[in-house]
Protein backbone atom coordinates (compact mmCIF):
# COMPACT_ATOMS: atom_id res chain seq x y z
CA UNK A 1 0.00 0.00 0.00
CA UNK A 2 1.32 3.46 -0.85
CA UNK A 3 2.46 5.62 2.03
CA UNK A 4 0.12 8.45 3.02
CA UNK A 5 1.73 11.72 1.92
CA UNK A 6 1.92 14.36 4.65
CA UNK A 7 1.53 18.07 3.97
CA UNK A 8 2.33 21.03 6.23
CA UNK A 9 0.50 24.24 5.34
CA UNK A 10 2.13 27.44 6.56
CA UNK A 11 0.07 30.59 6.10
CA UNK A 12 -0.89 33.46 8.39
CA UNK A 13 -4.42 33.64 6.91
CA UNK A 14 -6.76 31.27 8.67
CA UNK A 15 -9.15 31.05 5.71
CA UNK A 16 -6.30 29.90 3.44
CA UNK A 17 -5.16 27.29 5.94
CA UNK A 18 -8.71 25.99 6.36
CA UNK A 19 -9.40 25.89 2.64
CA UNK A 20 -6.23 24.01 1.86
CA UNK A 21 -6.70 21.74 4.85
CA UNK A 22 -10.19 20.69 3.71
CA UNK A 23 -9.05 20.30 0.11
CA UNK A 24 -6.13 18.03 0.95
CA UNK A 25 -8.02 16.05 3.59
CA UNK A 26 -10.60 15.17 0.94
CA UNK A 27 -7.74 13.98 -1.24
CA UNK A 28 -6.65 11.60 1.52
CA UNK A 29 -3.44 13.36 2.60
CA UNK A 30 -2.26 13.79 6.20
CA UNK A 31 -2.44 17.55 6.75
CA UNK A 32 -1.26 19.88 9.51
CA UNK A 33 -1.27 23.67 9.62
CA UNK A 34 0.85 26.39 11.10
CA UNK A 35 0.13 30.11 11.20
CA UNK A 36 3.78 31.17 11.16
CA UNK A 37 7.23 30.06 10.08
CA UNK A 38 8.70 29.68 13.58
CA UNK A 39 6.01 27.25 14.65
CA UNK A 40 6.32 25.41 11.32
CA UNK A 41 10.07 24.94 11.82
CA UNK A 42 9.56 23.48 15.29
CA UNK A 43 6.85 21.18 13.87
CA UNK A 44 9.32 20.07 11.20
CA UNK A 45 11.91 19.24 13.83
CA UNK A 46 9.57 16.98 15.75
CA UNK A 47 7.62 15.50 12.83
CA UNK A 48 8.50 14.82 9.23
CA UNK A 49 6.38 16.19 6.41
CA UNK A 50 6.72 15.22 2.77
CA UNK A 51 5.54 18.54 1.38
CA UNK A 52 5.57 22.03 2.88
CA UNK A 53 3.22 24.54 1.29
CA UNK A 54 4.26 27.96 2.55
CA UNK A 55 3.10 31.51 2.02
CA UNK A 56 5.86 33.92 1.11
CA UNK A 57 4.54 36.94 3.05
CA UNK A 58 4.07 36.23 6.71
CA UNK A 59 4.66 38.34 9.80
CA UNK A 60 8.03 37.59 11.39
CA UNK A 61 10.05 35.11 9.37
CA UNK A 62 8.94 35.11 5.72
CA UNK A 63 8.53 32.12 3.42
CA UNK A 64 11.90 32.51 1.70
CA UNK A 65 13.80 32.61 4.98
CA UNK A 66 11.86 29.58 6.17
CA UNK A 67 12.64 27.79 2.90
CA UNK A 68 16.39 28.26 3.50
CA UNK A 69 16.09 26.93 7.04
CA UNK A 70 14.02 23.93 5.95
CA UNK A 71 16.60 23.13 3.27
CA UNK A 72 19.38 23.25 5.86
CA UNK A 73 17.39 20.80 8.00
CA UNK A 74 16.50 18.41 5.18
CA UNK A 75 18.06 18.99 1.80
CA UNK A 76 15.57 16.83 -0.11
CA UNK A 77 12.40 18.26 1.45
CA UNK A 78 9.80 19.55 -0.99
CA UNK A 79 8.74 23.14 -0.37
CA UNK A 80 6.15 24.89 -2.51
CA UNK A 81 6.01 28.65 -2.13
CA UNK A 82 2.67 30.49 -2.45
CA UNK A 83 2.09 34.17 -2.82
CA UNK A 84 -0.68 36.59 -3.63
CA UNK A 85 1.75 39.03 -5.22
CA UNK A 86 3.98 37.24 -7.67
CA UNK A 87 7.05 38.96 -8.96
CA UNK A 88 9.64 37.42 -11.18
CA UNK A 89 12.38 38.25 -8.68
CA UNK A 90 10.80 36.47 -5.76
CA UNK A 91 9.88 33.48 -7.90
CA UNK A 92 13.43 33.17 -9.20
CA UNK A 93 14.83 33.62 -5.70
CA UNK A 94 12.53 30.90 -4.29
CA UNK A 95 13.54 28.45 -7.01
CA UNK A 96 17.22 29.33 -6.54
CA UNK A 97 16.87 28.63 -2.84
CA UNK A 98 15.55 25.17 -3.63
CA UNK A 99 11.77 25.56 -3.76
CA UNK A 100 10.07 22.75 -5.67
CA UNK A 101 7.61 25.16 -7.26
CA UNK A 102 6.10 28.58 -6.93
CA UNK A 103 2.39 29.37 -7.23
CA UNK A 104 0.27 32.48 -7.21
CA UNK A 105 -2.82 32.66 -5.02
CA UNK A 106 -5.60 31.95 -5.76
CA UNK A 107 -4.82 28.98 -7.93
CA UNK A 108 -6.90 26.92 -10.24
CA UNK A 109 -8.06 23.70 -8.50
CA UNK A 110 -6.50 21.68 -11.29
CA UNK A 111 -3.14 23.44 -10.86
CA UNK A 112 -3.16 22.58 -7.18
CA UNK A 113 -3.91 18.92 -7.89
CA UNK A 114 -1.14 18.82 -10.51
CA UNK A 115 1.30 20.48 -8.17
CA UNK A 116 0.74 17.99 -5.39
CA UNK A 117 0.68 15.04 -7.80
CA UNK A 118 4.07 16.12 -9.21
CA UNK A 119 5.49 16.59 -5.73
CA UNK A 120 4.17 13.15 -4.71
CA UNK A 121 5.79 11.63 -7.79
CA UNK A 122 9.08 13.25 -6.81
CA UNK A 123 8.77 11.81 -3.31
CA UNK A 124 8.02 8.33 -4.67
CA UNK A 125 11.04 8.56 -7.00
CA UNK A 126 13.33 9.63 -4.17
CA UNK A 127 12.09 6.78 -1.98
CA UNK A 128 12.38 4.29 -4.81
CA UNK A 129 15.90 5.52 -5.45
CA UNK A 130 16.83 4.98 -1.79
CA UNK A 131 15.36 1.47 -1.82
CA UNK A 132 17.22 0.58 -5.02
CA UNK A 133 20.48 1.96 -3.58
CA UNK A 134 20.03 -0.18 -0.48
CA UNK A 135 19.30 -3.22 -2.63
CA UNK A 136 22.44 -2.57 -4.65
CA UNK A 137 24.48 -2.22 -1.48
CA UNK A 138 23.39 -5.60 -0.23
CA UNK A 139 23.69 -7.47 -3.53
CA UNK A 140 26.13 -5.90 -5.92
CA UNK A 141 29.11 -7.90 -7.09
CA UNK A 142 28.99 -10.35 -4.22
CA UNK A 143 27.52 -13.03 -6.48
CA UNK A 144 31.01 -13.87 -7.76
CA UNK A 145 32.18 -14.62 -4.24
CA UNK A 146 30.72 -18.06 -4.02
CA UNK A 147 30.69 -20.20 -0.94
CA UNK A 148 28.61 -21.11 2.05
CA UNK A 149 31.55 -22.36 4.13
CA UNK A 150 32.19 -20.61 7.43
CA UNK A 151 35.55 -19.34 6.12
CA UNK A 152 33.90 -17.66 3.13
CA UNK A 153 30.97 -16.35 5.15
CA UNK A 154 33.51 -14.71 7.47
CA UNK A 155 35.07 -12.98 4.44
CA UNK A 156 31.64 -11.76 3.32
CA UNK A 157 30.90 -10.44 6.80
CA UNK A 158 34.21 -8.59 6.81
CA UNK A 159 33.50 -7.10 3.38
CA UNK A 160 30.12 -5.89 4.60
CA UNK A 161 31.51 -4.31 7.76
CA UNK A 162 34.45 -2.59 6.04
CA UNK A 163 32.71 -1.48 2.83
CA UNK A 164 30.94 1.58 4.22
CA UNK A 165 34.09 3.01 5.79
CA UNK A 166 37.02 4.75 4.16
CA UNK A 167 39.63 2.59 5.85
CA UNK A 168 42.56 1.15 3.90
CA UNK A 169 42.32 -2.59 3.44
CA UNK A 170 44.94 -5.24 2.81
CA UNK A 171 43.60 -8.42 1.31
CA UNK A 172 45.86 -11.37 1.89
CA UNK A 173 45.63 -14.86 0.58
CA UNK A 174 47.32 -17.33 -1.69
CA UNK A 175 47.45 -16.82 -5.39
CA UNK A 176 44.15 -17.59 -7.11
CA UNK A 177 41.92 -17.23 -4.06
CA UNK A 178 39.96 -14.29 -5.47
CA UNK A 179 41.54 -11.29 -3.77
CA UNK A 180 40.59 -8.95 -6.62
CA UNK A 181 36.97 -10.11 -6.39
CA UNK A 182 37.00 -9.18 -2.71
CA UNK A 183 38.38 -5.74 -3.60
CA UNK A 184 35.64 -5.31 -6.21
CA UNK A 185 32.98 -6.34 -3.71
CA UNK A 186 34.26 -3.82 -1.16
CA UNK A 187 34.21 -1.05 -3.75
CA UNK A 188 30.80 -2.05 -5.14
CA UNK A 189 29.25 -1.93 -1.69
CA UNK A 190 30.91 1.29 -0.62
CA UNK A 191 29.57 4.86 -0.97
CA UNK A 192 32.26 5.26 -3.69
CA UNK A 193 30.61 2.69 -5.95
CA UNK A 194 29.46 5.24 -8.52
CA UNK A 195 33.07 6.31 -9.03
CA UNK A 196 35.88 4.28 -10.61
CA UNK A 197 37.67 1.30 -9.19
CA UNK A 198 41.16 1.59 -10.66
CA UNK A 199 43.34 -1.54 -10.53
CA UNK A 200 47.13 -1.52 -10.75
CA UNK A 201 49.13 -4.74 -10.91
CA UNK A 202 52.27 -3.53 -9.14
CA UNK A 203 54.17 -6.76 -9.77
CA UNK A 204 53.87 -6.42 -13.53
CA UNK A 205 55.53 -3.01 -13.79
CA UNK A 206 59.07 -1.80 -13.36
CA UNK A 207 59.74 0.97 -10.84
CA UNK A 208 59.78 3.82 -13.37
CA UNK A 209 56.74 2.50 -15.20
CA UNK A 210 54.85 2.07 -11.96
CA UNK A 211 55.70 5.61 -10.92
CA UNK A 212 54.40 7.00 -14.21
CA UNK A 213 51.36 4.70 -14.05
CA UNK A 214 50.42 5.77 -10.52
CA UNK A 215 51.20 9.48 -10.65
CA UNK A 216 50.84 10.20 -14.37
CA UNK A 217 53.29 12.26 -16.34
CA UNK A 218 53.64 15.54 -18.14
CA UNK A 219 54.44 15.76 -21.83
CA UNK A 220 58.20 15.45 -22.36
CA UNK A 221 58.87 14.02 -18.87
CA UNK A 222 60.75 11.15 -20.47
CA UNK A 223 61.35 9.70 -23.90
CA UNK A 224 58.00 8.59 -25.26
CA UNK A 225 55.96 10.89 -23.01
CA UNK A 226 54.32 12.68 -25.92
CA UNK A 227 51.14 13.56 -24.07
CA UNK A 228 50.15 14.63 -20.59
CA UNK A 229 48.78 11.54 -18.93
CA UNK A 230 46.63 11.18 -15.85
CA UNK A 231 47.92 8.75 -13.25
CA UNK A 232 45.90 6.02 -11.60
CA UNK A 233 45.61 7.98 -8.36
CA UNK A 234 44.07 10.85 -10.30
CA UNK A 235 41.72 8.50 -12.16
CA UNK A 236 40.59 7.02 -8.85
CA UNK A 237 39.39 10.41 -7.57
CA UNK A 238 36.24 9.84 -5.45
CA UNK A 239 36.66 6.11 -6.07
CA UNK A 240 38.98 3.31 -5.05
CA UNK A 241 42.48 2.32 -6.14
CA UNK A 242 43.34 -1.37 -5.96
CA UNK A 243 47.07 -2.08 -5.72
CA UNK A 244 47.63 -5.75 -6.43
CA UNK A 245 50.89 -7.46 -5.45
CA UNK A 246 51.79 -4.54 -3.19
CA UNK A 247 54.70 -6.50 -1.67
CA UNK A 248 56.60 -6.28 -4.95
CA UNK A 249 57.04 -2.49 -4.98
CA UNK A 250 60.54 -1.07 -4.55
CA UNK A 251 61.80 0.78 -1.49
CA UNK A 252 61.65 4.08 -3.39
CA UNK A 253 58.05 3.49 -4.43
CA UNK A 254 57.17 2.57 -0.84
CA UNK A 255 58.34 6.03 0.27
CA UNK A 256 56.42 7.71 -2.57
CA UNK A 257 53.29 5.72 -1.80
CA UNK A 258 53.45 6.55 1.90
CA UNK A 259 53.70 10.25 1.11
CA UNK A 260 50.71 10.11 -1.23
CA UNK A 261 48.62 8.16 1.26
CA UNK A 262 49.36 10.70 3.97
CA UNK A 263 48.78 13.85 1.93
CA UNK A 264 46.37 12.54 -0.73
CA UNK A 265 48.33 14.75 -3.11
CA UNK A 266 51.14 14.15 -5.60
CA UNK A 267 52.96 15.63 -8.55
CA UNK A 268 52.94 14.06 -12.00
CA UNK A 269 56.29 12.78 -13.26
CA UNK A 270 57.96 15.76 -14.91
CA UNK A 271 55.40 18.16 -13.52
CA UNK A 272 55.39 20.70 -10.73
CA UNK A 273 51.73 21.15 -9.99
CA UNK A 274 50.38 19.51 -6.83
CA UNK A 275 47.35 17.38 -7.67
CA UNK A 276 44.95 16.21 -5.00
CA UNK A 277 42.74 13.16 -5.26
CA UNK A 278 40.23 11.64 -2.88
CA UNK A 279 40.71 7.88 -3.17
CA UNK A 280 40.43 4.82 -1.00
CA UNK A 281 43.25 2.29 -1.06
CA UNK A 282 42.78 -1.44 -1.16
CA UNK A 283 45.90 -3.61 -1.52
CA UNK A 284 46.41 -7.29 -2.06
CA UNK A 285 49.32 -9.60 -1.58
CA UNK A 286 50.06 -13.29 -1.32
CA UNK A 287 53.14 -12.60 0.80
CA UNK A 288 53.39 -12.23 4.54
CA UNK A 289 53.90 -8.46 4.82
CA UNK A 290 54.54 -8.59 8.54
CA UNK A 291 57.49 -10.93 8.05
CA UNK A 292 58.71 -8.65 5.28
CA UNK A 293 58.54 -5.72 7.70
CA UNK A 294 60.53 -7.72 10.27
CA UNK A 295 63.14 -8.53 7.65
CA UNK A 296 63.31 -4.87 6.60
CA UNK A 297 61.91 -5.56 3.13
CA UNK A 298 58.77 -3.52 3.59
CA UNK A 299 58.43 -0.17 5.37
CA UNK A 300 56.78 -0.50 8.74
CA UNK A 301 55.07 2.92 8.53
CA UNK A 302 53.59 2.04 5.12
CA UNK A 303 52.48 -1.34 6.41
CA UNK A 304 50.55 0.23 9.29
CA UNK A 305 49.12 2.89 6.97
CA UNK A 306 47.79 0.21 4.63
CA UNK A 307 46.91 -2.46 7.14
CA UNK A 308 44.00 -0.70 8.86
CA UNK A 309 41.82 -3.69 8.05
CA UNK A 310 43.10 -7.07 6.97
CA UNK A 311 40.89 -9.53 5.14
CA UNK A 312 42.39 -12.95 4.67
CA UNK A 313 40.88 -14.95 1.81
CA UNK A 314 41.10 -18.64 2.67
CA UNK A 315 42.72 -21.09 0.23
CA UNK A 316 40.38 -23.51 -1.48
CA UNK A 317 41.71 -26.47 0.52
CA UNK A 318 40.35 -24.80 3.65
CA UNK A 319 36.85 -24.62 2.25
CA UNK A 320 36.41 -27.82 0.30
CA UNK A 321 32.67 -27.77 1.11
CA UNK A 322 32.40 -24.88 -1.39
CA UNK A 323 33.83 -26.96 -4.26
CA UNK A 324 30.48 -28.41 -5.51
CA UNK A 325 28.94 -24.94 -5.63
CA UNK A 326 31.99 -23.48 -7.37
CA UNK A 327 32.06 -26.33 -9.88
CA UNK A 328 28.39 -25.80 -10.67
CA UNK A 329 28.99 -22.05 -11.09
CA UNK A 330 31.95 -22.52 -13.45
CA UNK A 331 30.17 -25.19 -15.50
CA UNK A 332 27.24 -22.84 -15.98
CA UNK A 333 29.53 -19.89 -16.74
CA UNK A 334 31.57 -21.68 -19.41
CA UNK A 335 28.65 -23.56 -20.97
CA UNK A 336 27.00 -20.18 -21.54
CA UNK A 337 30.15 -18.48 -22.83
CA UNK A 338 30.98 -21.41 -25.13
CA UNK A 339 27.38 -21.74 -26.29
CA UNK A 340 27.16 -25.32 -25.10
CA UNK A 341 24.12 -27.05 -23.62
CA UNK A 342 23.98 -27.27 -19.83
CA UNK A 343 26.38 -29.90 -18.47
CA UNK A 344 26.76 -31.72 -15.16
CA UNK A 345 29.63 -33.50 -13.43
CA UNK A 346 29.92 -37.16 -12.46
CA UNK A 347 29.83 -37.84 -8.72
CA UNK A 348 33.20 -39.60 -8.83
CA UNK A 349 34.82 -36.67 -10.62
CA UNK A 350 33.40 -34.22 -8.12
CA UNK A 351 34.66 -36.38 -5.26
CA UNK A 352 38.18 -36.36 -6.73
CA UNK A 353 38.02 -32.58 -7.07
CA UNK A 354 37.13 -32.33 -3.39
CA UNK A 355 40.21 -34.39 -2.54
CA UNK A 356 42.55 -32.40 -4.78
CA UNK A 357 44.78 -29.87 -2.92
CA UNK A 358 44.42 -27.07 -5.52
CA UNK A 359 47.66 -25.16 -4.92
CA UNK A 360 46.42 -22.68 -7.56
CA UNK A 361 43.18 -22.34 -5.63
CA UNK A 362 39.93 -21.25 -7.32
CA UNK A 363 41.70 -20.07 -10.46
CA UNK A 364 43.08 -23.57 -10.91
CA UNK A 365 39.66 -25.11 -10.36
CA UNK A 366 38.18 -22.68 -12.87
CA UNK A 367 40.83 -23.51 -15.48
CA UNK A 368 40.24 -27.19 -14.88
CA UNK A 369 36.48 -26.90 -15.42
CA UNK A 370 36.96 -24.74 -18.52
CA UNK A 371 39.31 -27.32 -19.99
CA UNK A 372 36.94 -30.19 -19.09
CA UNK A 373 34.09 -28.48 -20.91
CA UNK A 374 36.27 -28.01 -24.00
CA UNK A 375 37.55 -31.61 -24.13
CA UNK A 376 34.51 -33.35 -22.62
CA UNK A 377 31.60 -35.11 -24.34
CA UNK A 378 29.31 -32.16 -23.91
CA UNK A 379 26.99 -33.85 -21.44
CA UNK A 380 28.80 -34.84 -18.27
CA UNK A 381 32.27 -34.02 -16.99
CA UNK A 382 34.01 -37.27 -16.09
CA UNK A 383 37.27 -38.10 -14.33
CA UNK A 384 39.12 -38.45 -17.61
CA UNK A 385 38.29 -34.84 -18.53
CA UNK A 386 40.01 -33.54 -15.41
CA UNK A 387 43.82 -33.22 -15.41
CA UNK A 388 44.03 -34.10 -11.74
CA UNK A 389 47.19 -36.12 -12.06
CA UNK A 390 48.98 -33.56 -14.17
CA UNK A 391 50.08 -30.05 -13.51
CA UNK A 392 47.43 -27.61 -14.46
CA UNK A 393 48.70 -24.60 -16.30
CA UNK A 394 48.31 -21.75 -13.90
CA UNK A 395 48.50 -18.51 -15.76
CA UNK A 396 48.85 -16.47 -12.59
CA UNK A 397 52.17 -17.99 -11.58
CA UNK A 398 54.79 -15.60 -12.79
CA UNK A 399 57.91 -16.16 -10.72
CA UNK A 400 60.01 -19.30 -10.75
CA UNK A 401 59.67 -19.44 -6.99
CA UNK A 402 55.87 -19.68 -7.25
CA UNK A 403 56.18 -22.34 -9.90
CA UNK A 404 58.60 -24.36 -7.78
CA UNK A 405 56.44 -23.95 -4.69
CA UNK A 406 53.31 -25.15 -6.50
CA UNK A 407 55.08 -28.08 -8.06
CA UNK A 408 56.62 -29.25 -4.79
CA UNK A 409 53.26 -28.90 -3.07
CA UNK A 410 51.52 -30.99 -5.73
CA UNK A 411 54.14 -33.74 -5.54
CA UNK A 412 53.96 -33.82 -1.77
CA UNK A 413 50.19 -34.02 -1.92
CA UNK A 414 50.38 -36.77 -4.53
CA UNK A 415 52.61 -38.91 -2.29
CA UNK A 416 50.75 -38.10 0.92
CA UNK A 417 53.65 -36.01 2.22
CA UNK A 418 56.03 -38.98 2.15
CA UNK A 419 59.29 -37.00 2.01
CA UNK A 420 61.48 -39.81 0.70
CA UNK A 421 59.13 -40.75 -2.14
CA UNK A 422 58.45 -37.10 -2.97
CA UNK A 423 62.20 -36.25 -2.97
CA UNK A 424 62.83 -39.20 -5.28
CA UNK A 425 60.08 -38.04 -7.63
CA UNK A 426 61.51 -34.53 -7.62
CA UNK A 427 65.01 -35.92 -8.14
CA UNK A 428 66.44 -34.00 -5.16
CA UNK A 429 67.74 -35.26 -1.85
CA UNK A 430 65.61 -35.22 1.31
CA UNK A 431 67.52 -32.31 2.90
CA UNK A 432 66.91 -30.14 -0.15
CA UNK A 433 63.21 -30.99 -0.03
CA UNK A 434 63.04 -30.18 3.68
CA UNK A 435 64.74 -26.85 2.99
CA UNK A 436 62.26 -26.07 0.21
CA UNK A 437 59.30 -26.97 2.45
CA UNK A 438 60.67 -24.60 5.07
CA UNK A 439 61.40 -21.88 2.54
CA UNK A 440 57.90 -21.92 1.07
CA UNK A 441 56.21 -22.63 4.40
CA UNK A 442 54.43 -25.64 2.91
CA UNK A 443 52.00 -27.54 5.09
CA UNK A 444 49.75 -30.53 4.38
CA UNK A 445 46.17 -29.66 3.48
CA UNK A 446 43.76 -29.96 6.40
Amino acid sequence: MAKKISILIVDDEESVRDSLYNWFIEDGYRVECSENATKALSMLESDSFDIVLADIKMPGMDGLEMLKRIKSLRKDSIVIIMTAFATVDTAVQALKDGAFDYVTKPFDPDDLSHLIRNASKQISLLEENEILKEKMVSLENVEDLIGTSEAMQQVLREIESVAQSNASVIITGESGTGKELVARAIHANSPRKFFPLVSVHCGALSESLLESELFGHEKGAFTGAVYNRKGRFEMADSGTIFLDEIATISAKMQVELLRVLESKSFVRVGGNKEITSDFRVICATNRDLKTMVEKGLFREDLFYRLNVVNINVPPLRERIEDIPQLVEYFIKKYCISMNKPAMTIETAALKRLEEFPFPGNIRELENMIERAIVVGNGKKISLKDLPLGKTVVNTTVESLDDLEKNHIFQILAKYNWNISVSAKALKVDRVTLYNKIKKYDLKPAK
Binding site: D18, L20, D27, M82, P106, F107, D110
Partner: protein
Protein backbone atom coordinates in the same frame (compact mmCIF):
# COMPACT_ATOMS: atom_id res chain seq x y z
CA UNK B 1 -25.84 7.64 15.59
CA UNK B 2 -29.09 6.88 13.82
CA UNK B 3 -29.07 8.64 10.51
CA UNK B 4 -32.63 9.69 9.69
CA UNK B 5 -32.23 11.23 6.28
CA UNK B 6 -30.23 13.19 3.77
CA UNK B 7 -31.59 16.71 3.30
CA UNK B 8 -30.99 18.63 0.10
CA UNK B 9 -31.74 22.34 0.57
CA UNK B 10 -31.84 24.61 -2.45
CA UNK B 11 -31.00 28.29 -2.10
CA UNK B 12 -32.01 30.71 -4.81
CA UNK B 13 -33.77 29.89 -8.06
CA UNK B 14 -33.82 26.25 -9.15
CA UNK B 15 -35.84 24.84 -12.01
CA UNK B 16 -38.94 23.08 -10.79
CA UNK B 17 -38.42 19.35 -10.26
CA UNK B 18 -34.67 19.52 -10.82
CA UNK B 19 -33.70 18.00 -7.50
CA UNK B 20 -36.55 15.47 -7.43
CA UNK B 21 -35.03 13.80 -10.50
CA UNK B 22 -31.79 12.94 -8.69
CA UNK B 23 -33.41 11.88 -5.39
CA UNK B 24 -33.68 8.18 -6.17
CA UNK B 25 -30.04 7.86 -7.20
CA UNK B 26 -28.81 9.61 -4.07
CA UNK B 27 -31.05 7.45 -1.92
CA UNK B 28 -29.81 4.28 -3.63
CA UNK B 29 -26.10 5.14 -3.16
CA UNK B 30 -26.36 5.79 0.56
CA UNK B 31 -29.47 3.75 1.46
CA UNK B 32 -30.83 6.68 3.40
CA UNK B 33 -34.12 8.50 2.64
CA UNK B 34 -33.64 11.83 0.87
CA UNK B 35 -35.67 14.95 1.65
CA UNK B 36 -35.80 18.07 -0.49
CA UNK B 37 -36.66 21.57 0.69
CA UNK B 38 -36.02 25.19 -0.10
CA UNK B 39 -33.97 27.37 2.20
CA UNK B 40 -33.27 31.05 2.68
CA UNK B 41 -29.96 32.67 3.34
CA UNK B 42 -28.58 36.20 2.89
CA UNK B 43 -26.08 35.26 0.21
CA UNK B 44 -24.81 38.82 -0.21
CA UNK B 45 -22.92 38.46 3.07
CA UNK B 46 -20.66 35.96 1.34
CA UNK B 47 -20.26 37.88 -1.89
CA UNK B 48 -16.71 38.97 -2.68
CA UNK B 49 -16.98 41.95 -5.01
CA UNK B 50 -13.35 41.75 -6.11
CA UNK B 51 -13.79 38.18 -7.24
CA UNK B 52 -17.47 38.40 -8.18
CA UNK B 53 -17.93 35.09 -6.45
CA UNK B 54 -19.38 33.70 -3.21
CA UNK B 55 -17.17 32.47 -0.40
CA UNK B 56 -17.72 28.72 -0.09
CA UNK B 57 -16.18 28.55 3.37
CA UNK B 58 -18.70 31.01 4.80
CA UNK B 59 -21.63 29.28 3.12
CA UNK B 60 -20.54 25.89 4.40
CA UNK B 61 -20.19 27.26 7.95
CA UNK B 62 -23.71 28.72 7.80
CA UNK B 63 -25.18 25.46 6.49
CA UNK B 64 -23.44 23.65 9.34
CA UNK B 65 -24.60 26.06 12.04
CA UNK B 66 -28.13 26.77 10.86
CA UNK B 67 -29.35 23.74 9.00
CA UNK B 68 -27.33 20.63 9.91
CA UNK B 69 -28.34 18.25 12.67
CA UNK B 70 -26.65 15.23 14.20
CA UNK B 71 -29.14 12.88 12.58
CA UNK B 72 -29.07 14.24 9.06
CA UNK B 73 -26.58 14.85 6.30
CA UNK B 74 -27.41 18.29 4.94
CA UNK B 75 -26.29 19.53 1.55
CA UNK B 76 -26.89 23.14 0.54
CA UNK B 77 -27.36 23.66 -3.20
CA UNK B 78 -26.61 27.03 -4.76
CA UNK B 79 -26.81 28.50 -8.23
CA UNK B 80 -23.99 31.01 -7.66
CA UNK B 81 -20.28 30.80 -8.42
CA UNK B 82 -18.36 29.54 -5.38
CA UNK B 83 -14.75 30.10 -4.39
CA UNK B 84 -12.49 29.45 -1.44
CA UNK B 85 -9.67 31.94 -0.75
CA UNK B 86 -6.94 29.75 -2.14
CA UNK B 87 -8.75 28.49 -5.24
CA UNK B 88 -10.22 30.29 -8.21
CA UNK B 89 -13.48 28.30 -7.95
CA UNK B 90 -15.00 25.18 -6.49
CA UNK B 91 -17.90 22.96 -7.52
CA UNK B 92 -18.61 22.17 -3.90
CA UNK B 93 -17.13 21.18 -0.59
CA UNK B 94 -18.10 19.33 2.55
CA UNK B 95 -16.93 18.49 6.05
CA UNK B 96 -15.19 15.13 5.88
CA UNK B 97 -17.04 12.80 8.24
CA UNK B 98 -19.26 15.73 9.11
CA UNK B 99 -22.94 16.56 8.73
CA UNK B 100 -22.94 19.15 6.00
CA UNK B 101 -21.73 20.14 2.58
CA UNK B 102 -22.40 22.55 -0.25
CA UNK B 103 -22.52 22.29 -4.05
CA UNK B 104 -23.11 24.75 -6.82
CA UNK B 105 -24.81 24.18 -10.14
CA UNK B 106 -23.37 27.44 -11.52
CA UNK B 107 -20.51 25.87 -13.47
CA UNK B 108 -22.31 22.66 -14.41
CA UNK B 109 -24.33 23.77 -17.44
CA UNK B 110 -23.03 23.54 -20.99
CA UNK B 111 -24.11 27.12 -21.71
CA UNK B 112 -21.54 28.37 -19.18
CA UNK B 113 -18.87 27.14 -21.57
CA UNK B 114 -20.51 28.41 -24.73
CA UNK B 115 -21.91 25.02 -25.65
CA UNK B 116 -25.44 23.98 -26.62
CA UNK B 117 -27.79 23.42 -23.72
CA UNK B 118 -28.08 19.77 -22.72
CA UNK B 119 -30.47 19.20 -19.81
CA UNK B 120 -29.57 15.50 -19.48
CA UNK B 121 -25.89 16.23 -19.10
CA UNK B 122 -26.64 19.10 -16.70
CA UNK B 123 -28.79 16.93 -14.42
CA UNK B 124 -26.23 14.14 -14.58
CA UNK B 125 -23.50 16.54 -13.42
CA UNK B 126 -25.68 17.79 -10.53
CA UNK B 127 -26.39 14.18 -9.52
CA UNK B 128 -22.68 13.36 -9.47
CA UNK B 129 -21.70 16.50 -7.54
CA UNK B 130 -24.40 15.94 -4.91
CA UNK B 131 -23.40 12.30 -4.39
CA UNK B 132 -19.70 13.28 -4.37
CA UNK B 133 -20.04 15.92 -1.62
CA UNK B 134 -22.37 13.72 0.40
CA UNK B 135 -19.75 10.96 0.07
CA UNK B 136 -17.30 13.22 1.92
CA UNK B 137 -19.78 13.72 4.75
CA UNK B 138 -19.91 9.93 5.02
CA UNK B 139 -16.11 9.92 5.44
CA UNK B 140 -15.11 9.02 1.88
CA UNK B 141 -11.98 10.67 0.46
CA UNK B 142 -11.14 11.10 -3.22
CA UNK B 143 -10.89 7.84 -5.12
CA UNK B 144 -8.38 6.96 -7.82
CA UNK B 145 -10.87 4.82 -9.75
CA UNK B 146 -11.60 6.88 -12.90
CA UNK B 147 -15.27 5.92 -12.99
CA UNK B 148 -16.02 6.29 -9.28
CA UNK B 149 -18.16 9.26 -8.31
CA UNK B 150 -15.62 10.05 -5.55
CA UNK B 151 -12.94 10.74 -8.13
CA UNK B 152 -11.72 14.33 -7.77
CA UNK B 153 -13.04 16.63 -10.50
CA UNK B 154 -11.63 20.03 -11.25
CA UNK B 155 -13.31 20.55 -14.62
CA UNK B 156 -16.81 19.65 -15.86
CA UNK B 157 -15.16 17.30 -18.33
CA UNK B 158 -13.81 15.38 -15.33
CA UNK B 159 -17.32 15.11 -13.94
CA UNK B 160 -18.56 13.73 -17.26
CA UNK B 161 -15.86 11.06 -17.24
CA UNK B 162 -17.08 9.41 -14.06
CA UNK B 163 -20.26 7.49 -13.19
CA UNK B 164 -22.76 8.70 -10.62
CA UNK B 165 -22.09 5.66 -8.46
CA UNK B 166 -19.57 4.67 -5.83
CA UNK B 167 -17.03 2.05 -6.87
CA UNK B 168 -16.87 -1.27 -5.03
CA UNK B 169 -13.97 -0.08 -2.89
CA UNK B 170 -15.75 3.09 -1.80
CA UNK B 171 -18.94 1.15 -1.15
CA UNK B 172 -16.92 -1.20 1.03
CA UNK B 173 -15.38 1.73 2.91
CA UNK B 174 -18.78 3.30 3.35
CA UNK B 175 -20.08 0.14 4.98
CA UNK B 176 -17.09 -0.24 7.30
CA UNK B 177 -17.07 3.32 8.66
CA UNK B 178 -18.34 3.03 12.27
CA UNK B 179 -20.64 6.03 11.94
CA UNK B 180 -22.22 4.47 8.86
CA UNK B 181 -23.25 1.23 10.54
CA UNK B 182 -26.54 0.03 9.19
CA UNK B 183 -26.03 1.58 5.77
CA UNK B 184 -26.25 -0.62 2.69
Amino acid sequence: MNLENITLISFGYFEKGLLEIICDDVEREFSVPVKIREGYMALSVYYDASRKQYNGNGLLQEIESRFATETTKTLGLFNVDLFIPILTYIFGQAFLNGNSGIASIYRLSNERYGLKKDQTVFIDRIRKEVIHELGHTFGLIHCTNPTCVMRSSTYVEDIDQKEHMLCTKCKGMLATKPQNEGLN
